[in-house]
């Protein structure tokens, strides 16, 4: 499990991971004082979608065409909600939508330990829930740390709720939604990947 956690954290520097990390960052920044809630919801939804995909239970195919546009509109609506309403329900809903879209669009870089999980999940999906959670906990470590810092140091929580940080989260969230809507989110990943490849 610890190997999976480390492999997840190491994957943070790979462009393939950013398809799910960027929406997570947007949610964590836009979540105001509710870093724990939005991180928990985003992580739980993303882990569920990832596990369904690894286990072969995912019924919705790939993110492309009309589904990408639909997801983009949903993300834009969620961004509007969290900007207009400072409420736990809207923040949680936005985090869930972002987790769903991010995990659906995500194509993981499959290292040796995640490979074991994905290969094993074919025949024993329930035995590999823990592995999926451990890998994604490693990948989501930055958000988890932000949430933990907010609990451990309330003064940090106050700082993360200022308008600049929340505004940055909103703008990032809206950009993600817009890129999905015009089916360019994968082009962003493409450009990031190109710049980090020889």
């Amino acid at each position: 499990m610890i190997d999976l956690l480390f492999e997840g954290t190491e994957s943070l520097r790979l462009p393939c991971s950013w398809l799910v990390v960027i929406p997570g960052t947007a949610v964590a920044l836009g979540g105001r004082r509710r870093a724990v809630l939005v991180t928990a919801v985003f992580s739980a939804v993303a882990m569920l979608v990832a596990w369904l995909r690894f286990g072969g239970f995912w019924p919705l195919g790939e993110v492309e065409g009309i589904t990408q546009i639909g997801l983009g509109i949903a993300i834009l609506a969620a961004a509007g909600l969290i900007w207009r309403k400072d409420h736990a329900v809207t923040d949680g809903l936005a985090a869930g939508i972002a987790g769903f879209a991010g995990a659906w669009a995500w194509i993981p870089c499959v290292g040796p330990h995640l490979g074991d999980v994905i290969n094993g999940a074919r025949s024993e999906p329930f035995a590999h829930i823990g592995g999926t959670v451990a890998f994604l906990a490693g990948l989501f470590l930055p958000f988890i740390l932000v949430a933990a810092a907010g609990v451990a140091f309330p003064e940090f929580k106050d700082k993360t709720s200022n308008r600049f940080i929340v505004g940055t989260g909103f703008v990032l969230f809206a950009i993600v939604g817009l890129l999905f809507t015009v089916t360019l989110f994968d082009d962003l990943a493409n450009e990031l990947a190109r710049r980090s490849t020889f």
């Binding site: 393939c16 995909r53 995912w58 790939e62 194509i107 499959v110 290292g111 490979g115």
Partner: protein, 229 residues
């Protein structure tokens, strides 16, 4: 108070993990391959040195290893490779031209970090078994648009030391057809036996020893020819 202590512990452990992963990355030769702008340097780290291929498994041709290895499971007949944008490193132009051989069919793309990490292991196996009734078929299925550029693919093949035949599946038609449902990943490695049946299927890095043993087993114990083959 308890929640603050718990959160503090999470912070402490999390920062520790980030620090260890960060430090580990700077020392890890493999991890520099993707980020490096210097292809030559990347190659020096990725390509196998003569006689020593990174941490690739050592060539083991011992009959004991083959005898101890259980008969690989049969996953059924392979699909064909269709509507390709051509082949490289071979004069053949269809997968059926390789019928009768033990094949490794590997779905990969040159920008994929984990695909790059597999290459030294594949090179080691190719060096060991190249003269046998064995071939490796790379199926290059671009993940991103910049990986669809054929001159870039060709340059990457040279840079990464991919000397085996490569089928160019630019639009991922075969990548999708070979991988069921939503379980589509890079890299994915299959072993196809002399009858055209899939006998090994692995997603991601790893399982190099089992891959090599499967190929050696099939070379030493070819299946009974079927009427379809």
């Amino acid at each position: 108070m308890a929640s603050r202590i718990f959160a503090g512990i999470i912070l402490f452990v999390g920062v520790g993990i980030l620090a260890v992963v960060g430090l580990g990355s700077s020392d890890d030769a493999d991890t520099d391959v993707v980020a490096s702008a210097d292809t030559e340097a990347a190659l020096a780290q990725t390509a196998p040195a003569e006689g020593a291929v990174g941490d690739a498994p050592e060539a083991t041709t011992t009959t004991e290893a083959v005898e101890a290895f259980p008969e690989p499971e049969n996953y059924g007949p392979r699909l064909d490779l269709v509507n390709l944008d051509g082949w490289r490193n071979t004069d053949n132009d269809e997968l059926s031209d390789f019928d009768g051989q033990v094949l490794i069919v590997e779905m990969w793309t040159f920008g994929c970090f984990n695909c790059q990490n597999r290459i030294p292991h594949t090179q080691a196996l190719y060096a060991e078994l190249q003269d046998e009734n064995f071939e490796i078929i790379g199926v290059h299925a671009a993940e991103f648009d910049f990986e669809k550029d054929i001159p870039s693919i060709e340059r990457a093949m040279v840079d990464l030391g991919v000397t085996w035949p490569v089928a160019l599946d630019t639009e991922k038609e075969n990548f999708r057809a070979w991988q069921e449902g939503g379980r589509r990943f890079w890299p994915r490695t299959y072993v196809v036996d002399q009858n055209g049946d899939i006998r090994f299927d692995h997603i991601g890095e790893g399982d190099y020893e089992e891959l090599g043993d499967t190929v050696r087993y099939l070379l030493a114990n070819p299946p009974e020819p079927t009427t379809a083959s």
